[in-house]
């Protein structure tokens, strides 16, 4: 491993650690990303409890909602990475880092790792709440897939949010980061499976990559690991990370060169 790559990994690790300890130092930043998925889980499964009577793959709308809530939690964790980067740009931390010998790529790699780790926290909270509500996790492999899907979505949303932060250079771009993430989830299979959807939503959710990720997680949660659903979820995650990652890398390349 060359010196440059070792240094990049070292700095990325430190930036990831810095983002993680912010959870303890600035709980007001991270708490919403823990509380909101819980709120969504309780409110959605309670309000739409009757939907469990429809052919959605389970009679429990709570079980149906758990993957949606884990994805929301991971989405919040990803947006948090963008907000942290925007705050660092505003505060001058990024300028100091760029003028140092630290590799630029660490500016993205560190927060991306942090987003994935934060998604583990949020997914654990949601799964624990589901367990309290009587929904058991889908075995070791199934649970690992639910965590993986959430983490990949967290990385994709972090790439998107950091791409926005690198261009807007202000935390005031937060609504744009959040809006795209939430619209992407809501226009997938958030509330009902595709078989029940109709009209414009069915067309969009058929093409929305988030649908495949959510279906992979939900299929696993409800019936154990089914690779015919997991593989499309992995491919969709790879596509989103490639697109959003390219968007973030381009923003990073342009940073300070405009």
């Amino acid at each position: 491993m060359g010196d440059g790559r070792a240094r990049a990994m070292s700095v990325s690790g430190m930036l990831a650690w810095r983002a993680i300890i912010l959870v303890r130092r600035m709980p007001s930043v991270f708490l919403p990303s823990l509380v909101m998925p819980l709120f969504i889980l309780v409110a959605t499964s309670g309000a739409f409890h009757g939907v469990g009577a429809l052919p959605i793959g389970t009679s429990s709308y709570l079980a149906f909602t758990i993957p949606f809530a884990t994805m929301m939690g991971a989405g919040f964790a990803g947006v948090n990475s963008g907000l942290t980067l925007a705050r660092d740009i505003e505060g001058g931390f990024v300028d100091r880092l760029i003028s140092s010998p630290a590799p630029r790529i660490a500016l993205l790699a560190g927060p991306l790792a942090a987003a994935a780790i934060r998604s583990v926290f949020t997914t654990t909270v949601v799964l624990a709440a589901g367990l309290i509500g009587g929904v058991h996790p889908p075995g070791v492999l199934g649970t690992a897939i639910v965590y993986l899907m959430a983490a990949l979505w967290g990385v994709a949303t972090a790439c998107w949010s950091m791409g926005v932060a690198l261009r807007a250079k202000t935390v005031q771009a937060a609504p744009l980061m959040q809006l795209v993430v939430f619209v992407a989830i809501f226009t997938s299979v958030a509330y009902a499976p595709r078989e029940l959807q109709q009209g414009w939503l069915r067309h969009i959710s058929d093409w929305n990559p988030v649908t495949r990720i959510l279906e992979a997680s939900r299929g696993t949660e409800l019936g154990g690991a089914d690779w015919t659903e997991v593989w499309p979820g992995l491919w969709a995650s790879a596509l989103l990370i490639a697109l959003a990652g390219g968007f973030a890398l381009h923003g990073l390349y342009r940073l300070g060169r405009d």
């Binding site: 709120f39 309780v42 409110a43 309000a47 409890h49 009757g50 939907v51 509330y191 109709q198 414009w200």
Partner: protein
């Protein structure tokens, strides 16, 4: 006093319309959610035990969207009031011969006009996409009237928060509370399909009864008892929040 109220209400309407960031969320989010819920659940409503008989989910959903829009608009009204305080306009008004009553009523009337217009727009959009108001013109007018009056307790609460905090950001920060109240009610799905503690909470939540009064006009026809219950809750809560706002205003101005 009426002239002052009218002038301040008109200013409130114009200032709201001038800033898309204040009215756009109140239109965009309820319409999008209404559309997503309709596309998700329309096919299955007939098979859900306890779901009231409806022509389609859109008929059921439109009242929830109206209520959601009024809630978001109420937060914006409070934030505008706080922004007037932050920007010094409020102080200039206080120093002028404008009555204390008009300071509140101007913003409240503006909110009520916006809420009624929003209800007309939402029902219009729903009708274009196939919804039907079973109560006909009378049911439609009752719904719009209730929506307009609903802006009174919600706008009163927004102004109360503005007077308490003096910060538009703090008022906007209360949005998650409103959002939680909305979800823990029958705004999006009927109480009859809920179970356990959630159903109890939804039953105790005044928002459920407010929205059900509006919804009945759309899905069953003109329903005077439901409308009167909704009206009583709206006016009762309005008396509390507007009364507390007036008290807070009086304290702030050192009248008491």
């Amino acid at each position: 006093m009426l002239v002052q109220t009218r002038a301040l209400a008109w200013r409130g309407v114009k200032s709201t319309l001038r800033f898309p960031q204040s009215w756009f969320p109140a239109l965009f989010f309820p319409l999008v959610l209404m559309s997503i819920f309709t596309a998700s659940f329309d096919r299955g409503v007939g098979a859900i035990p306890g779901f009231p008989p409806v022509r389609g989910f859109l008929d059921f959903a439109v009242s929830g969207a109206v209520l959601q829009g009024v809630l978001i608009g109420g937060v914006s009204a409070g934030a505008f009031f706080a922004a007037d305080m932050e920007g010094g306009f409020f102080d200039r008004l206080v120093a002028s011969p404008v009555s204390r009553f008009a300071l509140l009523s101007g913003r409240l009337v503006a909110g009520m006009l916006m809420a009624a217009a929003q209800a007309v727009l939402f029902v219009g959009v729903a009708v274009v996409f196939g919804a039907r108001v079973q109560g006909g013109l009378a049911g439609f007018l009752i719904l719009v009237g209730l929506a307009g009056l609903l802006a009174l307790p919600i706008g009163g609460l927004g102004i109360l928060l503005a007077l308490r905090t003096g910060s538009a950001e703090a008022v906007q920060g209360m949005f998650p509370l409103f959002f939680a109240l909305l979800f823990f009610s029958s705004a999006f799905f009927p109480r009859e399909t809920m179970t356990g503690w959630f159903r109890t909470v939804a039953g105790l939540n005044p928002i459920s009864h407010m929205v059900e009064g509006m919804r009945a006009q759309v899905i069953t026809g003109v329903d005077v008892p439901a409308a009167l219950l909704s009206l009583a809750i709206i006016l009762g809560l309005g008396a509390v929040t507007v009364g507390l706002s007036a008290l807070m205003l009086s304290r702030r101005l050192g009248d008491s």
